[in-house]
């Protein structure tokens, strides 16, 4: 009897958490498919009288979201690719070899991981403006790769630590160098880890807003978060369009998260701390 009561309480608790977590997303989606006339009503009209994609059409034609989306995609993919590559190499050396500066370097990575992007965006801006690289996608790609490599390395270390050394020792004895051993033997065994590092870097780059707003100011260079940022200050943006923009900004990360959640969570609890 008591056990049953606890079970019911638990189900209610889990139900509440589920509703609270999902409702905001469902609501913004409903807003995005409402006709413009049904967005601003009070009391609120819960369901649209008919579902329409006019907000999305507006977004991708007049508001040029196809371009912003492409920019974001390029930035996130390229920086995540480089970050993954660099951090696997660094993580590998930092797990397999003992040398003097090792602990220090690891602490540096942990420290860098705690640095928020906005805090160093000004000096980054002055540096890149001297190189005439502000307002280019290259500049934010380089910056995101820096952040990504730092926490990617910490994640890579967490995965590599669990892999017994004997696996690549045979390859090393056969005359492979470290680099070959890593890419021919270790990485094929570590694909879930590689995927989670990549996803993690992708999501962080996709979401970054403050550096991007400072660096990218012409329309053709903007990423999705920058476009949303400029929406807020623009008069006359309807909330159904805004809602559609938010959905477009969130969708790729939701997709990545649902594909890689298990591994990301694993990496997170094993030592990657940036959330």
């Amino acid at each position: 009897m008591k056990k049953r009561a606890i079970g019911i309480l638990r189900a209610i608790g889990l139900g509440i958490f589920l509703v609270v977590a999902l409702f905001p997303l469902i609501w913004i989606f409903l807003t995005s498919i409402k006709p413009a006339t049904e967005v601003y009503t009070f009391p609120v009209k819960y369901l649209p009288s008919r579902a329409t994609f006019e907000a999305y059409r507006y977004l991708f034609s007049f508001a040029r979201f196809n371009m912003y989306f492409k920019n974001s995609f390029v930035v996130a993919t390229v920086s995540a690719g480089f970050s993954t590559f660099f951090s696997l190499m660094a993580g590998y050396v930092l797990t397999r070899e003992r040398f003097k500066l090792r602990t220090f370097l690891i602490l540096v990575l942990f420290f860098v991981q705690m640095l928020p992007t906005y805090l160093i965006m000004i000096p980054q801006f002055t540096m890149f403006s001297r190189l005439k690289l502000t307002n280019t996608l290259t500049s934010v790609i380089i910056i995101y790769t820096g952040f990504g490599s730092a926490f990617g390395t910490i994640m890579a270390r967490a995965f590599l630590k669990n892999l017994p050394r004997t696996i690549e020792e045979a390859a090393l004895i056969d005359g492979c160098n470290r680099f070959q051993a890593l890419f021919r033997v270790v990485i094929p065994l570590l694909l879930p880890g590689v995927g989670s590092i990549f996803s993690f870097c992708f999501v962080n780059s996709w979401n970054e807003v403050f550096t991007a707003v400072l660096f990218l100011h012409t329309d053709s260079k903007m990423t999705v978060p920058v476009a949303l940022y400029s929406f807020v200050s623009k008069a006359g943006i309807q909330w159904n369009v805004m809602a559609a923009g938010i959905i477009v900004a969130l969708l790729p990360t939701i997709v990545v998260f649902s594909l890689a959640q298990k591994y990301i969570v694993e990496g997170l609890t094993q030592g990657a701390i940036k959330a």
Partner: protein
């Protein structure tokens, strides 16, 4: 093989941090990017003598303390609810944990629509339930703005705590619970004598990390209020970004940035020392 990562980390992260220190002593705006002038401690004086500065500190403290406390509380409850397997748990976790990966800025925008003072669903529901007579300006009313942004931050941060605490709870050997069971311990007794003491290292490290992270998390506030109304939700990080974006004063913003970095470094050193000493492991 270490070179690419550490060259980048140096060029993109560490050197700019030092450079920021130099800029904080300069008069540097967008308009004189190439010929800055050294002005001593002027920028720091301007920041510290600003009559709004004490309120900025207080807001930052409230923001951190309330956010982390409630994120922890609800994260712990969720982790405890998830501790025992049930049918569909994997799917459930995916659905409940998803906010964790989303853009804080977009989440702020999203919630500013839900909490809208005229057409917001939250007002609508509260009025239908008879809890309110007229809609509240959650974001436009100074009395409610801080409460609102913290509410959203708590919503956003629950999954992170739940993930970390759940992983720790699942590593507790079941013999401990069996022993407690034999001793006749009830739910709360088990919670306070077995679960919490066992996962204490995880709690410490997660809370400390979260304090650092929430202090440096202007995204949600920036999506919702940008520090307003009348500075009601202005915290240190938001103020720094406002100085960059609206006043284009890089020197002044860098001085504030160095103050934030100093606070961050104190927390980071505490964290890294505990980590080194093995108080908790990663």
């Amino acid at each position: 093989m270490l070179v690419p990562t550490f060259a980048l980390v140096f060029f993109v992260n560490l050197y700019p941090l030092v450079r920021g220190g130099v800029i904080s002593f300069q008069r540097l705006t967008v308009f004189n990017l190439n010929n800055p002038r050294f002005v001593g401690w002027n920028n720091y004086r301007t920041i510290l003598n600003d009559p709004a500065f004490p309120r900025l500190l207080w807001n930052t403290f409230v923001w951190i303390a309330c956010s982390v406390a409630f994120q922890f509380l609800f994260g712990l409850i969720l982790a405890l609810l998830l501790a025992k397997p049930f049918f569909g748990r994997g799917l459930y976790m995916g659905l409940v944990f998803y906010p964790w990966a989303l853009s804080g800025f977009a989440i702020g925008l999203l919630w500013s629509w839900l909490l809208n003072g005229q057409f917001g669903i939250v007002n609508d529901v509260l009025i239908r339930l008879g809890l309110l007579k007229t809609p509240i300006g959650f974001l436009s009313d100074e009395r409610f703005a801080m409460f609102s942004v913290i509410l959203v931050n708590v919503w956003y941060g629950i999954p992170f705590f739940a993930i970390m605490l759940l992983a720790a709870i699942q590593s507790i050997p079941s013999e401990l619970y069996e022993a407690a069971q034999i001793d006749g311990a009830g739910f709360f007794r088990k919670l306070f004598s077995v679960t919490l003491p066992y996962i204490r290292p995880t709690i410490y490290s997660t809370v400390l990390l979260r304090i650092i992270w929430v202090m440096n998390f202007p995204d949600i506030i920036y999506g919702m209020t940008r520090g307003g109304p009348a500075g009601a939700t202005n915290i240190l990080s938001v103020q720094m970004i406002n100085i960059v974006y609206y006043r284009n004063n890089f020197g002044l913003a860098s001085a504030l940035g160095m103050i934030i970095t100093a606070i961050l470094t104190i927390f980071a050193v505490i964290y890294l020392t505990l980590l080194e000493r093995g108080e908790f492991e990663l």
